[in-house]
Amino acid sequence: MLRDELKGVIFDIKKYAIHDGPGIRTSVFLKGCPLRCQWCHNPEGWEAEPELIFHQARCAGCGKCVSACPQGAIVLERGRPAMNPEKCIHCGNCTSVCHSQAREIAGRYVSADELLAEIEKDIVFYDESDGGITLTGGEPLMQANFCRLVLRRCKQRDIHTTVDTCCCGPTESLQALAEYTDLFMCDVKHTDPAIHRQFTGMDNALILDNIRFLADRGCSLVIRIPVVPGFNDKPEQIDQIVQFAKTLKTVRRIDLLPYHSGGVGKAQKLQKSCPVLNTRPPQRQQMQFLQRVVEKHGFNVKVGG
C-alpha cells in the first residue's frame, strides 16, 4: 500500500480534551484493541473495523432498516430489528434510513491528511496551553503505521504528541511510534499475570516489558492505573504497581483513574457477548487513601483523568 493511501480507522475525535495530557488537546480515538478489559468504557474501540451501534431505546420498530440492508443481515423479531453481526458489512445503509437515529456506525476511515486538517484547526489552543494531540483508543499500537504517520506529520508542524497506550503490542511498533512521541501514557492494570489475564484477556508480561523498553529509551511516561473495585483497589495491589513504576527512571506522574460504569450501556448497544464488569465506582475517600499510598513513594499523583 502506498504511504499516502494509508488510512486509519477512528471512532471519535474529541476537542478540548483536558485530561489526556498537558494543556488543551485533541484526542483521536483509534479502533482496535487486543485487550478486553471488563471495565472498558470505550468498547466501541475493541473491533478494528467500523461496526454498528444499535440504541434500542430509540428504536421505533418501523422496520425500514430491514429492507435497507443489502446483506439481509436484519430481521424483525417481535417488532424489533435483530441483526446478524456476521453478515453486516458496515455499509451504513440502515443508519441513513433510520430517522429515530437508533442506528449508527462507530468507526470511519480517515487519511492522515484529513486527520491533520482537523487537528490543525485547534493549533491556537495548543499554542496557548502547551497542548497538542493525544492518540488513544482502542489501542494506537493496533494501527501503528498509521499512527506513526500522523505523529510524524504533527512533529513536522511542531505539535506536541502524546500516545495513550496499553502497551500490549509488538515492541517494534512501540519503537516506531516513540520516535515521534513526546509523552507516553501507559496503563498498568495489575502486576499479577493470572489476574490480569482473567480480567483483560491477556497476560501482562509483554506490557511490562514494553513499558520498561520505553523507560530505558528515555521516553517520558505517565503511568495510569484504572482503579477498579474487586480487581485492583486494594492498597497492596496498587503498591505493587508503584513498586514496578519505581524501577523506571522516566515516570513523571502516576494517574489514578476511578472506574465508572459508562462502558456498560455502550457494550449493550454494541451487542457484545464478552463479560462486562458492572460494579460501583470507588468512593472518594478510597481514592484519597490510594493517592497517599502512591505519594508515599515520592510520585506526583493525579486522581481522575
Partner: protein, 787 residues
C-alpha cells in the same frame, strides 16, 4: 462579609421591588406649574431636576456607609410619566406577571388615576415617538422585525470616566460660567441655544448639590440622636463627606465612592436612561485614593472592602424602571446594566493596569453575588495570568460574573470608529457588551433587529406568514428563487428595506429627545458638552454612536445552511416541499425535520456554515456601519440580545434547520441551543471567524458544569479565554451550573431564590426569569466533559 454587610445585603435581596409614585407626582406638579411655557427646554429640565432634588425623600438605611436612594427606600422604583405614563392596566400586569413583577399599592394606583394619567394623556415621549413613525414602521414593529429602545426610556448607555475624582461639581460649574462668558452673540448663530444649554446644565449642578446637602443635613440629624457612639461617629463622618462631595473633589476612598454614588442617583432620577449609569473602570479611578491611604495607614484592605460592599448594595437597591409591552419582552430584568470594569490597560501608556484593588474587587464580586452591579474583567495580553486565574475562580462559583472582555480588540474597535488612542484605552464595555469611550461618548442602542424574521419574510415575498400582512417588499417566493445567491440577495433586499426604515425612525426620535427631553446633568459629566454648549442628546459628547443590534446570527446561519445544503447543493429536498413543511411547522414532516436538523451548523468550526455566518455579518455591517446619525456621529453594529431572542423567537415561524415556530432564537453570536459540536474550541473557532474588530460588541455564551473546572480545568478555562482573545474575540461569559440544578430550581423556585445565572449581557435570578427563558437557558449547549 461582616454583620453590617450581611444585614444590608439581606435587606436589599429580600425586599421585593415596588413602585413609588413620588417622582411621578413631583414631575407632574412641575409640568403643571406652567413654568415650561416661560423658559427653554434645557432650562426647564434643569429646573425640573432641581424641583425633584429639593422635594424627593431622603433615605439613610441603618448601618450603611454610602448614602443615597433614588426613591423612598431600597427597591422603591420611580416612574417617568413624561416619557411613558403607565396605565392602570400596566400596573395590573406589572404586579401579576411572573418575570420582573413590582408591587403596586392602592395609593399609587389612586394617585395615577386621579392626577398622573389625566394630565399626561397625549403629552408623553412614548406618544410622540409612536405618533411620528410611519404606518410601514408600525407594521414592521408589530411583526417583530425590530424593537424600539426609546419608546419608554431615554437614550443613555453612558459611563463615567475619572473626571469627578479630580474635580468637584463646583469646578464644572465654573467651566460653565467661563463658557457662558465666551459666547459670541455677534458671530455664532448658535449662541443663544448654547446659553440655554449651559444655563440648564448649571441648574442641574445646583440640583445635585441640593441632594448632597440634604443628605449631609440628614446625617447630622441622625447623628444628633444616635445613642450608639460608634454609629454616631460614622454618621458624623458621613455628614462631613456629604458636605464635601460631589461639590468638591474627593480626598479619600470613601469620599470617592460617595461622590460617584450621588452622581449615579442624579442621573437615574433625571431620566430613565437606558443602562442607568456606570462607574466604568472603578479599580483604576479609585486606585490613587486606595494606594495613598493604605500607605498612610488611614485605610485597611478590610475597610476598603467593606466600603465597596456597601457601594455594591446601593446598585442592587435600584431596580430598572418598570417596562411594559415589547420593551419588557426584549429586556425583561430588574438589572439596570451597570457594568463595573476591572483590569485593562493604562490609558496613557497602554501598560498593564491591574492593581491590588482589582483583586479586592474580585473578592467583593465573589462575596456579594448580587445581580446588580454586574462586573466584568478587561483582559489585555499584557494583564497577568494570575489575575485571569483569580477571575476564573470567581466564574467557577457559577453566578455568571465576571464576564470577560478583550481589551486589545476593544481598543481596535474604538480606533476603527475614529476615537483617539487615549480615549479608546480609557473606555471599555458597558451594559451588556457594547463598547464606548467612557465619559466622552453617547453610545445609543436603538433596538434589536430580528435577522431570522427578515429571512422568513424573504422566503415569503415579504408577507408575514403569522399575520398574512405584507410587511416587507416583494422579493419573490422562495420556490421561485433559482439558487442560493438569489435567496441571499432577497434577504439582503429585505434587510436593507428595514434598516432604512429603522434609521428613518431613529433620525426622527433623536430629534424628539434633543428637542423635548434634554439630559442636563448627563451633559455636565460627559465631555465635551460644556465646551460645545450642546446637550448629551444633541451631539454634545465628543463621540456620538448609534447602534442597531443584530440578533439571531446562529439561527439564521443554520437556517440558511440547511437550505443551501439540502435544496441547492445536494438537492435532497425541493423548495416546494420545504415551504410546505415550514408552513405546517413540520407537523406531518417529522422525517424531513430530522433530515434538516442534521444539516451543517454554526459553531462547529466547519466552513460550510461558518462562511454563511461571515457573509451575513458582512451584509449587516455594510448596510449599517458608517451611516450618519443626526448628532454628527455614525451608525455601527453590535450583536447582542439581552432577552429579546426569546421574544423574537415567539414571532418567528418555523425555520429550515428544523426549529419549530415560537422557540427562542440563538443568543448573541452563540450557536443555536442544543447544537452538537466537538466542544468549546469549535464554538470559539467559529465565533472568531466574524470580524469582531469592526463591531461595537459581540456576545458569546458558554455553559460549563462545575466538574469541568475542577483541578487544572480552571487553568485550561484561562487558556480557552486567551485563545479566543488571540483570535480577536470580543467577549465571553460562562454559566457554570448543572442542568439538574436548573431543573430543580424550576420545580422548587422558593428553594433556589439565590440561584443566579448569566442570561445575556447580564446575570439574573433564575427563578425570576419567565418559563421560556428558563427552558432556553437549560437547553443552551452544555459543554460537559466526561472523564
Amino acid at each position: 462579609m461582616n454583620a453590617r454587610i450581611l444585614k444590608l445585603r439581606k435587606q436589599s435581596v429580600e425586599r421585593k421591588p415596588y413602585i413609588s409614585s413620588e417622582r411621578a407626582e413631583l414631575i407632574t406638579d412641575f409640568y403643571q406649574s406652567g413654568i415650561g411655557m416661560e423658559v427653554s427646554a434645557p432650562v426647564f429640565r434643569g429646573l425640573a431636576l432641581k424641583h425633584l432634588m429639593e422635594n424627593k425623600s431622603i433615605c439613610i438605611n441603618d448601618g450603611e456607609l454610602i448614602v443615597g436612594e433614588r426613591g423612598p427606600g431600597p427597591k422603591a422604583t420611580y416612574t417617568y410619566p413624561e416619557l411613558c405614563c403607565h396605565t392602570l392596566e400596566d400596573f395590573d400586569v406589572m404586579s401579576r406577571r411572573q418575570r420582573t413583577s413590582f408591587d403596586v399599592s392602592e395609593s399609587v394606583k389612586k394617585v395615577y388615576a386621579e392626577r398622573i394619567i389625566p394630565f399626561w394623556g397625549g403629552k408623553t415621549m412614548r406618544e410622540k415617538v409612536f405618533g411620528a413613525m410611519t404606518a410601514d414602521w408600525h407594521r414592521a414593529f408589530e411583526a417583530g422585525v425590530f424593537t424600539e429602545f426609546m419608546e419608554q426610556r431615554a437614550p443613555g448607555h453612558a459611563i463615567l470616566d475619572d473626571k469627578i475624582y479630580h474635580r468637584g461639581l463646583l469646578e464644572f460649574q465654573s467651566d460653565i460660567n467661563d463658557q457662558l462668558k465666551k459666547l459670541d452673540y455677534h458671530n455664532d448663530p448658535e449662541a443663544w441655544h448654547k446659553e440655554q444649554e449651559l444655563k440648564g446644565m448649571s441648574l442641574s449642578i445646583e440640583a445635585v448639590l441640593t441632594l448632597s446637602r440634604r443628605y449631609a443635613d440628614k446625617c447630622g440629624e441622625l447623628a444628633a440622636v444616635e445613642s450608639d457612639p460608634a454609629r454616631k461617629a460614622e454618621l458624623e463622618q458621613m455628614e462631613a463627606i456629604c458636605r464635601h462631595v460631589p461639590a468638591q473633589a474627593p480626598r479619600t476612598f470613601h469620599e470617592a465612592l460617595q461622590a460617584y454614588w450621588f452622581v449615579h442617583v442624579a442621573v437615574i432620577t433625571e431620566l430613565n436612561v437606558w443602562d442607568s449609569y456606570n462607574p466604568g473602570r472603578l479599580d483604576q479611578h479609585l486606585w490613587p485614593f486606595y494606594e495613598r491611604q493604605i500607605a498612610e495607614g488611614t485605610l485597611t484592605a478590610e475597610k476598603g472592602k467593606e466600603l465597596l460592599e456597601c457601594f455594591w448594595i446601593k446598585f442592587n437597591n435600584q431596580p430598572a424602571p418598570p417596562k411594559v409591552g415589547i420593551t419588557e419582552e426584549q429586556s425583561g430584568t430588574y438589572t439596570d446594566f451597570a457594568l463595573i470594569n476591572i483590569g485593562g490597560v493604562d490609558p496613557k501608556t497602554g501598560a498593564d493596569a491591574v492593581n491590588a484593588l482589582s483583586y479586592l474587587m474580585l473578592d467583593v464580586v465573589e462575596e456579594m453575588r448580587l445581580v446588580q452591579p454586574s462586573a466584568c474583567i478587561q483582559i489585555s495580553a499584557k494583564n497577568p495570568e494570575r489575575f485571569l486565574r483569580r477571575a476564573c475562580k470567581v466564574i467557577r462559583c457559577g453566578f455568571g460574573q465576571p464576564s470577560v472582555f478583550n481589551t486589545d480588540v476593544i481598543i481596535r474597535e474604538m480606533l476603527h470608529h475614529g476615537k483617539s488612542m487615549v480615549d479608546a484605552r480609557s473606555g471599555g464595555p458597558s451594559g451588556c457588551v457594547e463598547t464606548s469611550a467612557f465619559g466622552k461618548e453617547s453610545c445609543t442602542l436603538t433596538g434589536y433587529c430580528n435577522w431570522p424574521k427578515i429571512f422568513e419574510l424573504a422566503m415569503n415575498n415579504g408577507i408575514d406568514p403569522r399575520t398574512g400582512l405584507q410587511v416587507g417588499p416583494k422579493t419573490g417566493q422562495f420556490d421561485t428563487l433559482s439558487d442560493f445567491d438569489s435567496l441571499m440577495q432577497a434577504y439582503r433586499s429585505q434587510l436593507k428595506h428595514f434598516i432604512d426604515m429603522k434609521v428613518h425612525g431613529n433620525n426622527v426620535i433623536e430629534r424628539l429627545y434633543a428637542t423635548f427631553m434634554p439630559a442636563m446633568f448627563m451633559s455636565v459629566i460627559t465631555d465635551d458638552c460644556i465646551a460645545k454648549g450642546r446637550n448629551y442628546h444633541n451631539g454634545g459628547p465628543r463621540y456620538n454612536s448609534t447602534y442597531i443590534q443584530g440578533v439571531g446570527l446562529g439561527s439564521l446561519t443554520d437556517a440558511m445552511a440547511a437550505v443551501k445544503y439540502h435544496v441547492y447543493d445536494k438537492k435532497t429536498i425541493s423548495a416546494k416541499t420545504l415551504r410546505e413543511a415550514l408552513k405546517a411547522d413540520f407537523v406531518g414532516h417529522e422525517k424531513l425535520r430530522s433530515q434538516l436538523e442534521s444539516s451543517p451548523r454554526w459553531g462547529c468550526d466547519e466552513d460550510y456554515a461558518d462562511a454563511i455566518a461571515v457573509e451575513l455579518f458582512n451584509i449587516y455591517y455594510d448596510l449599517v456601519n458608517g451611516r450618519p446619525n443626526t448628532k454628527g456621529g455614525q451608525y455601527h453594529i453590535n450583536l447582542l440580545p439581552t432577552t429579546v431572542h426569546v421574544y423574537f423567537g415567539q414571532v418567528t415561524g418555523a425555520l429550515p434547520h428544523g426549529r419549530k415556530a415560537g422557540l427562542p432564537l440563538s443568543d448573541g453570536i452563540s450557536p443555536t441551543q442544543g447544537t452538537r459540536s466537538y466542544g468549546p474550541t469549535t464554538v470559539i473557532k467559529s465565533a472568531a471567524k466574524i470580524d469582531h474588530a469592526r463591531t461595537g460588541g459581540t456576545l458569546l455564551n458558554m455553559k460549563f458544569t462545575p466538574q469541568t473546572l475542577e483541578g487544572d480545568g480552571l487553568e485550561k478555562l484561562g487558556h480557552l479565554i486567551r485563545s479566543y482573545f488571540k483570535l480577536d474575540g470580543h467577549h465571553i461569559q460562562f454559566n457554570v451550573i448543572n442542568k439538574d440544578t436548573l431543573l430543580a430550581a424550576q420545580r422548587n423556585p422558593t428553594e433556589y431564590r439565590d440561584l443566579i445565572v448569566r442570561v445575556a449581557g447580564y446575570s439574573d435570578y433564575f427563578v425570576d426569569l419567565g418559563p421560556d427563558l428558563q427552558n432556553e437557558i437549560i437547553a443552551r449547549t452544555e459543554m460537559t466533559q466526561l472523564g
